[in-house]
């Protein structure tokens, strides 16, 4: 038997390589090759308390910052594993030859949001691409050794769940439409659900969220769907939002808005402790407030003019090239107009600390899973969460599986997927934009009951339309669940801010929001989280 890994980004490659390292056969199934994965877009870095900068950092501090950054909604046991293992993960990447910025063979670390100490290892501002290159090499080594069999340009038709047990996966070759069935456990590493907000996120086109919507429809439990990360510094380019990495502020960048005609560095005045490196949810909210004041302009600028030539050359040259190409501005001397944009989904598939989902034999890791980042993810923790999470999911799958690991079974060809099936999977662009606009009206940076209720009403109305495809209906259901999670969390916490409930309410809502479909209707509940002392 083999273990099936769906997705070839950081989490999928990490899971596949961990499995192969222990001699387990892997079917690595992905619509795109690793070179096309969204992980290659990750920029600023990966957190690890390596303390190579002599600031006395320790994993316990990384743990505390992650818990505080997530406003106490993360699973403390999972975060403990994440932060304790982070130094080992980065050291291993260096051993593999990953081209991170180093000095005397040790990782150079930079400042990043929500953390006072330098803790973020990086490769200029192309860290995701560089780490993906290293992990792809590693997976290739196991592929050459026969332990990993790759099925790129293959898409999942159906995760076979019967009586809450995952039996295998059905998938097809999008080039030939040939379909296959592979029995055995499945690790989902399917990324975030950017497709819910087409053209409005920093992510990729093919991370549509449609498989997540399928799984939700079939009863898989999801959690914390109301927590959507708006990254403070993005700019619009054709077809998407372009991220201006947090590394820019980590290396000295400052945000300002014109107030009465002069620059007002509002983050520095309002948050003298972490200033421009406050958590992302805090900055995005303050930016939104700043542009809505009567005495300010309507644009927030990122000022990178104080960054030294050496830093531009050694740490941010790629970011500079990107800004020049897309904005016709040179950040060495020009200020960059920025607005918050959707960047990451803290919520997703409900998993335990070992990445088990609500279905036996089904695991989830990376952005599609929800447990490390709580109400707001710290910059530098997503790549870490994906790599660590992939390996933990692999470990759990090995421990849980009843299988003879040295017997290999190839997926069985089962036929050709039909035209009807393919058309039912289609989400038409006009419907996708409609769903997006409705969701944005309720799930912005600053929310309230009326807007969310109105959005829910509009989605319910849209759901009644007779010309919808199956995939469009499921996407609407996922959207409704996101809105319901937000509506029922009657407090403000992290990325979820409500003007009608502006305070944090630990007594009622220091809990995980749990969403499931029962008998065709969406059910939202709240589940206790283990106490944590910092």
């Amino acid at each position: 038997m083999a273990i099936n890994v769906i997705g070839a980004g950081l989490a999928g490659l990490s899971a596949a390589s961990t499995l192969a390292e222990t001699g387990v056969f892997v079917n690595l199934i992905s619509l795109k090759s690793p070179y096309r994965a969204q992980s290659v877009l990750a920029e600023g870095g990966i957190n690890a308390a390596l303390d190579t900068m002599g600031e006395g950092d320790a994993p316990a501090e990384h743990f505390a910052d992650t818990i505080r950054g997530g406003v106490f909604l993360s699973d403390p046991d999972a975060v403990r594993g994440l932060t304790d293992n982070a130094p080992h993960i980065v050291e291993k990447l260096l051993e593999m030859g990953t081209a991170l910025n180093t000095k005397d063979g040790k990782a150079v670390l930079r400042n990043f949001g929500g953390q006072k100490k330098k803790r973020t290892a990086f490769s200029k501002s192309s860290t995701g691409k560089i780490i993906m290159t290293g992990l792809t090499d590693l997976a290739r080594k196991y592929e050459a050794g026969g332990l990993i069999k790759t099925f790129f340009h293959h898409q999942v038709t159906h995760i076979d769940i019967q009586d809450k047990k995952c039996k295998g996966v059905r998938f097809f070759d999008v080039y030939t439409n040939k379909e296959y069935y592979s029995p055995g456990p499945v690790i989902l590493a399917i990324g975030g659900y950017n497709g819910i907000f087409p053209e409005m996120t920093t992510g990729t086109v093919y991370n549509t969220g449609d498989l997540l919507a399928d799984l939700f429809d079939e009863g898989l439990v999801l959690s914390n769907l109301e927590f959507i990360q708006y990254h403070p510094t993005t700019v619009g380019i054709p077809g998407k939002r372009l991220l201006i990495s947090e590394a820019a502020r980590g290396e000295g960048g400052r945000l300002f808005i014109y107030k009465d005609g002069t620059p007002w560095y509002f983050m520095e005045e309002l948050y003298p402790d972490l200033k421009n490196l406050s958590p992302r949810d805090v900055i995005s909210r303050e930016m939104t407030k700043a542009v809505s004041r009567d005495d300010t302009g309507d644009t927030v600028y990122l000022d990178l003019t104080g960054i030294s030539p050496d830093t531009w050359k050694g740490k941010l040259s790629d970011l500079r090239e990107e800004v020049i190409y897309y904005m016709d501005l040179d950040p060495v001397k020009d200020h960059i107009p920025v607005t918050p944009g959707i960047h990451f989904f803290m919520g997703g598939i409900y998993v335990d600390k070992d990445h088990r989902t609500s279905a036996e034999g089904l695991y989830a890791a990376g952005e599609c899973a929800s447990q490390y980042h709580g109400a707001n993810r710290l910059g530098g923790n997503s790549m870490l969460g994906a790599i660590y999470g992939g390996s933990v999911a692999a470990g759990a799958a090995i421990r849980d599986a009843v299988m003879e690991k040295d017997i290999k079974t190839d997926p069985e060809e089962t036929g050709i997927v039909g035209k009807e099936f393919l058309s039912e999977r289609k989400v038409n662009a006009d419907t996708a934009f409609l769903i997006r606009d409705i969701l944005l009206s309720g799930l912005g940076i600053i929310r309230n009951k009326e807007d969310m209720e109105e959005a829910l009403g509009r989605l319910s109305e849209l759901f009644q339309r007779e010309d919808l495809t199956g995939a469009e209906k499921k996407r609407i259901q996922l959207g409704r669940a996101m809105l319901l999670c937000a509506l029922l969390r009657k407090e403000s916490r992290g990325a979820h801010f409500r003007t009608d409930h502006p305070e944090r309410n630990d007594e009622d809502f220091r809990k995980t929001t749990v969403a499931r479909i029962t008998d065709g209707s969406i059910d939202i509940s709240f589940e206790d989280i283990k106490e944590v002392m910092l």
């Binding site: 051993e95 030859g97 080594k141 790129f152 340009h153 080039y175 380019i237 054709p238 077809g239």
Partner: protein, 236 residues
């Protein structure tokens, strides 16, 4: 401005290709070939310039910001990324066709699986721990940025899909690991590099200026040739 876009189309690899033309209008100088294709495919009842109904155009893409290499195609006769080619730089009449060096799938979609196979053949992975010599850091970083888009193979006079010569896309990957590996661990990879790349390269250097990631091919090859072919030691 009004752009006339001629697209080479086929519904099946065995089909005879045909040209179908579409109009795209924009005044935004930032719009790219990718923007136009996305817009055309967003129309439910897409029509060509003759008024005939047209199926959605199949093409590969993902990041839309020059970082994933998916959207490589032949644009006005030259390989490039659809998300990198701005319409105003291409002129009022634009031709799009699939990369010709790879098996066709549908429309602008091709099967680039051979590139991954060549990376396996070239043994692009680390054996043992990396050296981390400061002297090679810039080259390994640069080579790590390779998109595996296939533009360098499309333009190469020596590469073809089922041939022994792996082309520059695999050599760039190999250069990283060759320079980071110890001599003992690298022995097999050196041989493969010499056999599958060095001896097959006709040194036309057609690939030199085509790379969308602007990888410095000369510097990369001078490093990997020195290590794998001339057996020179890398200075720390």
């Amino acid at each position: 401005m009004r752009f006339l876009i001629d697209i080479e189309r086929r519904r099946d690899p065995k089909d005879k290709p045909y040209i179908q033309s579409f109009i795209y209008e924009t005044e935004d100088r930032g719009h790219t070939v990718a923007t136009a294709l996305t817009w055309l495919n967003s129309i439910r009842d897409l029509k060509d310039t003759e008024g005939n109904s047209a199926e959605p155009i199949e093409w590969d893409r993902n990041c839309l910001q020059k970082k994933c290499g998916a959207c490589a195609m032949v644009i006005n006769g030259k390989p490039g990324l659809a998300c990198d080619k701005r319409l105003f730089d291409l002129g009022a009449r634009i031709t799009l066709s699939p990369l010709k060096k790879f098996p066709k799938v549908r429309d602008l979609l091709v099967d680039r699986s051979i590139m991954e196979k060549n990376l396996v053949k070239m043994r692009v992975w680390m054996e043992g721990n990396a050296s981390h010599y400061e002297s090679v850091k810039d080259i390994t970083y640069d080579a790590s940025r390779c998109l595996q888009c296939g533009c360098c193979l499309e333009i190469c006079p020596n590469f073809y899909d089922e041939g022994d010569f792996t082309g520059m896309a695999a050599a760039v990957g190999a250069s990283r690991v060759l320079m980071e590996m110890g001599r003992e661990e690298g022995r097999e990879a050196y041989r493969t590099y010499e056999r599958s790349f060095y001896k097959g390269c006709g040194k036309s250097l057609a690939c030199r200026n085509i790379c969308p990631a602007k990888i410095d091919i000369d510097r990369t090859l001078s490093g990997s040739n020195a290590v794998a072919v001339w057996k020179r030691h890398i200075k720390k």
